[in-house]
Symmetry: none
């Protein structure tokens, strides 16, 4: 509970919740603009129009801000990744990728923070589990071990390709979106073949 990196108090009162939100919004902005390391807590407090003292009332240290932001993102992402189970495989992937792209563009710091491999843990594993669950539904005979492996690799591919629209490669966003889907589908196809799982029609 008195974790070094956890929020100090679950704010119950509305006023407190608002404070926390201001703080996290400000943190997101600042992290997005100059990165986690370069951001200063005073900067964030100022941006949030909150005193530095108040910031430390809710967050025991700078890292806790990051953690909370990531948690918030995880929650938001969960929705983006909750997909109509009647969709076929291709469409599932498409909807998911589109969802991520939308999420990314509406949450300024997500890209910066999510890609920074040093700082992911929790959000990362959560997403992997979600994908794993998705696969389990679509392919009931998929063995759990290779399935999890597949999920891990899939997530890694998404993480790696999404930023290709920025520096230093600057591919067109729609190209990126397409290539993510292509690589995901072709990788999935290869794994299913290897695991002797019947290919769905739309992956043949």
């Amino acid at each position: 509970m008195n974790d070094e990196t956890t929020m100090r108090k679950q704010p119950k009162q509305a006023r407190s919740q608002k404070r926390v939100d201001q703080l996290l919004d400000a943190a997101a902005q600042v992290f997005a603009e100059i990165g986690y390391e370069s951001a200063t807590t005073n900067q964030i407090a100022a941006r949030a129009k909150v005193s530095i003292g108040s910031l430390y009332q809710f967050f025991p240290n700078k890292e806790a801000l990051l953690e909370a932001l990531l948690a918030r993102y995880t929650e938001g992402l969960r929705e983006s990744l909750t997909i109509d189970q009647r969709l076929n495989c291709s469409d599932t992937i498409r909807v998911m990728i589109e969802g991520m792209a939308r999420f990314e563009s509406s949450h300024e710091a997500f890209k910066t923070l999510f890609m920074d491999s040093n700082r992911v843990s929790q959000m990362h594993t959560e997403i992997v589990q979600q994908i794993d669950a998705l696969l389990a539904i679509q392919f009931p005979t998929f063995d759990p071990a290779p399935r999890r492996q597949c999920a891990i690799v899939g997530v890694a591919i998404v993480k790696a390709l999404m930023p290709l629209s920025g520096p230093p490669d600057y591919l067109a966003p729609e190209v990126v979106l397409n290539e993510v889907q292509v690589s995901l589908k072709s990788y999935l196809r290869a794994v299913l073949l290897r695991e002797a799982i019947p290919l769905p029609d739309d992956l043949v």
Copy 2:
């Protein structure tokens, strides 16, 4: 000469060269352990068993250390990526991935630094070009634009999957090696199909 990020003096004497190597080795270790931003020049000097003054005799600032390390890696990588052109497609990919894996495990900071998207530019573009050249040789009819795109995505995939053997996923190294190849080959296959380029036998 008075570059802000270049080495201060090309070390001519053996003693100096040794000094520089100590320094770069230490920098590699420290960067690998705690990342570029968090690393301090005093830490690096201490690790190298060299005074902080000596460090600054060779490197005008912290960034120059990074730059020199990256240059060293670029050079090393070039060799790892120089591949017998008579190999077929699968083998080319295998040899290349194995080469990267070997390189990575013998150069502590490579992973950390190469993945840190803020700081790669030069090394990154160099590698992309090399892959592009490889593709050009294997598939003479490959149109330059989509070929370059393919190279970019391929490099991104490698960058993303290689670290999977570490935290937070901890896949077995040999598994990682294999999955990189699988995803690379299946992505390449998909692109070739799309571009109406005849598949080589080993990719069918």
Copy 3:
């Protein structure tokens, strides 16, 4: 606002103002003792019994400390140089010099800082203008160009002679005071003669 050499915040609360005063007093002492260049910000903070962090809360850098001190002096000097216009020429000079001497002995760093020709500009020009104005009043027919020249030379003489009570010459303070007046009056007399301006009775 983001001036490189201006105070960071105009201190509004009494406590802050006190802090700033402590800091400036300490700076004055240290500058007086070892000069601006040799003085260190840590030294000044220690002397002011204030943490180095506090110093930088008010002054963005060492130079800002100097600037603020000079500004304080300029203001103080303005009063010392505001002289009853009914006084005759000799008395004006005497009162002015006495005022400066009083000011100097109650503001430790004034001498050091004012004499350091590298760092005066603003205060210097202000004083010159004040003297120029004084001359304009006393000698309405004094042509502006030579009058300004006369003011410049006059100020230079004062600047040069006042420190004669210290090292390396150690003239008695009252002697110094007298000699400043003598040289000022005789120089003024010579200039007035040259400019064909009627000498006031007390300068004959």
Copy 4:
């Protein structure tokens, strides 16, 4: 002898003497360009095309360089101030001031160093004595105590007015030269009157 600020060895061999001269020339340049405090010994050694080790073979520390330079200047000045004793008072002053101006413009660091009141001691007193001697010759009945005082004030006036041709006042050099003479002569006249010493014809 083992003074902290004296040269380590009076160089006897020609080669050593040359070394010392190179060093002092370089020091003069660098001091003139960026001031004593900002100058670094490595810079000076480099400018002199001498190794830093050699510099410290002759000068125990940075200050010794300054001291030696000042000594050199003192010697040079002595000549400039050696004046034909048959000259009348006005001419003596004129010749002397012209000599100083010449000296100043041919010895880059002189102005910078001589005006820096923190660092004068020896050269200053020497000059004062020379002026004192000059006065003794011209005015045999001049009482030693007021005579010395007069010399001190005279030197101070010269020191203060000569730099007026530079920042922040930028008077024309010939104006400066003239005003120095005017103030010197009028001050001397005033003192002589006070001391009841008959005025020479050219001062009436």
